[in-house]
Symmetry: none
Subunit: 414 residues, 2 copies
């Protein structure tokens, strides 16, 4: 019998529409991986009576209850108190957690308040999940046949704590093993990918194959169920190969890979280095690359050249190239790419110039047009492309930065 | 008495973590605007018994029930059938909707199936919300004291149908208007802010005041309920002033403001301009600023100077300053800030150098240490600070970039 779990989110902010409940999505994905069923998500506000009601309803239906939110230091953070009262478990100060919290406040030079001390209260005899991403620890205990776990509300804390601390426990509790592998796809839409994969998707029973749209890209999830992880992986391997054969070079990586991490890895392998000259992407390419630990070994740096002066003075873009072809042109993108190689000494240079909107630049260039160039200083080869990424400043900037990284990736693959 | 509404999402894909329930967020925002309370969000799968249970629970507690999802043409789309059975209302074919659906299929040259016909079934005597964004119409009816509305699941259909068709109805039904205003705080933690605001928070009934932790900052939400928007705003204004008086300069903006947008606005007002030389933040400051439309008027550009060579060659940081003080030092940050002003011609320059981790740089500088400098080329004044942002590469980078923007903001405020 598979276990079943309910997720109860606590937070008036969710009921006011301030944020979407992405924690429920993230936790549900993990439960599915662990072979644990989930039949209900419930959200209640910071209200003791309604939280208690939701807990009692879940207790009747589920083997496992996971709450998110309400572990913060303020007086409307009620989850631990209400959960422990509902299940008759006392709270006690957890020394290690309190030391951790006071240590954190010492380090940043602010005093820990009485409120912060409440965060170190933990259900007696229960488990503690240290919080490496914030201050409120998670915790859990068993009451009768029910396992209750409490995770913090901010997604940046909830998600890693769930994945790194709670999910391994749940997998150990679950009699089934479900293993998922994501194949990451850039340069093909969800419906085109599904069109190509439809016969395979319909044929497959275990593993299953399903596409999901992610920010600017598509993830294909291959999910296998088996008595052991090894067996599940053995089921997944041939499907992964078949997908790659059907889709070709648009499959750029798996699981936690990103276009930035894959590009950096290829640079390392090739003994090459990269730099970026950005106009409309305004530093996104550089910040994505430098977001990957160890980027500095192969990412030489970047220039955010928003103004004409910077393009000329720092990157050495000739004035007449801008006058002749316009600032948004492949010629300027190429000159930027060459310039950033010269300035940084990188072997590969990216140059991006375009119009992200919402306003145009007075030229006839429509909003959404971006020119992206790649220069290889090792042999002097260069390529450039012009793309129309449509409306929406954020989307244009995102797609332009991802397309640029993908150009570098494909060049490095040869 | 304000009305109260519950949202029931129907869809197994939500419980499998395929997507987040953004519909509940979008609808909740509208309910808050309309002065309608929302105490519960529930998600169930495509399962008649569990949906019926959720409906019966909601009927006892709410004046209005809104369901999302399960209106599609496939056999697992069960919402209309289960809702109508639960409330004892028959379904009947809606001629206009059926004509619309067959017209659509004629246009794309495919036959409408028996399944599609199910989409044209509507609760007898109820309302129909035409779907201009897909095929399944929404609908609603009244059963006793309860109003039930059903919206389609895909967010691209649910959101506009809610906003354009259902929300106006709800606003007409609601006796109250609720207005929220967010005050944005940087440089003070959630618990410290609450410590200072506690007496005010406890005294207030309408409006209410509540703090929320956001990425690296804190939002204070002031929410007032009144018969009209004007009256609600009149209730909010003095609370906003009182909060500002209690917290001082850490309150940097309201609602959709960000540190980047506020800094850009101050630059515009002062006739000044800004540039950024970034080492450990790797382009985040530039990408945050350029994320705001119109940034190019006052943001001159940036240099991502990860390597020693770039600091020397592009920014003109003297080699001996790096050798004497180390790369992570206020002296280097200041030299970077001066250098980026020289390169870009900006009136203000930010320089950031630090160790984001996870690995150190071989020097005794601990991970998390960041030096941030601001140079004003108009009068040659300069300031620098050294901060310890603790562990976690992403958090160190985020806090360093926000602190740098806040330094510029405070300088511009004088």
């Amino acid at each position: 019998m598979p276990l079943n779990c309910e997720i109860i989110a606590v937070g008036t902010e969710l009921l006011l529409g301030g944020i979407a409940n992405t924690n429920a999505r993230d936790i549900s994905q993990g439960l599915a991986e662990a072979g644990i069923h989930c039949y209900y998500h419930t959200t209640v506000g910071d209200n003791p009576a309604r939280l208690r009601g939701a807990l009692l309803a879940a207790q009747k239906r589920a083997d496992i209850i996971i709450t998110t939110g309400g572990l913060g230091p303020t007086y409307d953070d009620i989850t631990k108190q209400v959960v422990c009262e509902t299940f008759g478990i006392p709270l006690e100060l957890h020394g290690e957690t309190w030391a951790r919290i006071t240590g954190y406040f010492d380090k940043i030079g602010r005093p820990a308040t009485e409120n912060n001390r409440r965060q170190a209260l933990i259900p007696k005899g229960g488990e503690v999940f240290a919080n490496d991403w914030g201050t409120a620890p998670g915790c859990g205990f068993r009451a009768g046949d029910t396992h209750i776990f409490m995770l913090p509300g901010p997604p940046k804390e909830c998600r890693p704590m769930f994945e790194q601390r709670l999910l391994p426990l749940l997998k150990a509790m679950s009699p089934e093993t479900i293993v998922s592998r994501q194949l990451r796809v850039f340069g093909m839409g969800e419906s085109s990918a599904e069109d190509k994969l439809r016969p395979l998707m319909e044929r497959l029973i275990n593993p299953t194959l399903a596409p999901y749209a992610k920010e600017g890209e598509v993830a294909l999830r291959v999910t296998a169920s088996a008595p052991s992880e090894e067996e599940a992986l053995r089921l997944i391997a041939p499907v992964e190969e078949e997908v790659k054969a059907l889709l070709g070079g648009v499959v750029y990586g798996t699981d936690d890979d990103s276009l930035a991490s894959v590009t950096l890895e290829l640079l390392r392998r090739e003994g090459a280095s990269l730099a970026a000259a950005e106009s409309c992407t305004g530093g996104i390419i550089a910040s994505r690359l430098t977001g990957v630990p160890g980027a500095s070994e192969v990412f030489m740096g970047g220039v955010v050249a928003y103004t004409r002066e910077m393009k000329v003075n720092v990157l050495g873009v000739p004035e007449d190239v801008m006058d002749t072809h316009g600032v948004v042109s492949q010629e300027v993108a190429l000159a930027m790419a060459r310039g950033v190689c010269a300035v940084t000494g990188a072997s590969l240079g990216l140059g991006v110039t375009g119009l992200a909107g919402p306003d145009g630049d007075g030229s006839p260039v429509p909003i959404g047009i971006v020119c992206i160039a790649l220069y290889d200083s090792r042999d002097g080869t260069q390529t450039a492309q012009t793309r129309n990424f449509g409306d929406g400043r954020e989307r244009v900037r995102l797609m332009a930065s991802m397309t640029a990284l993908d150009m570098a990736r494909r060049k490095l693959l040869g």
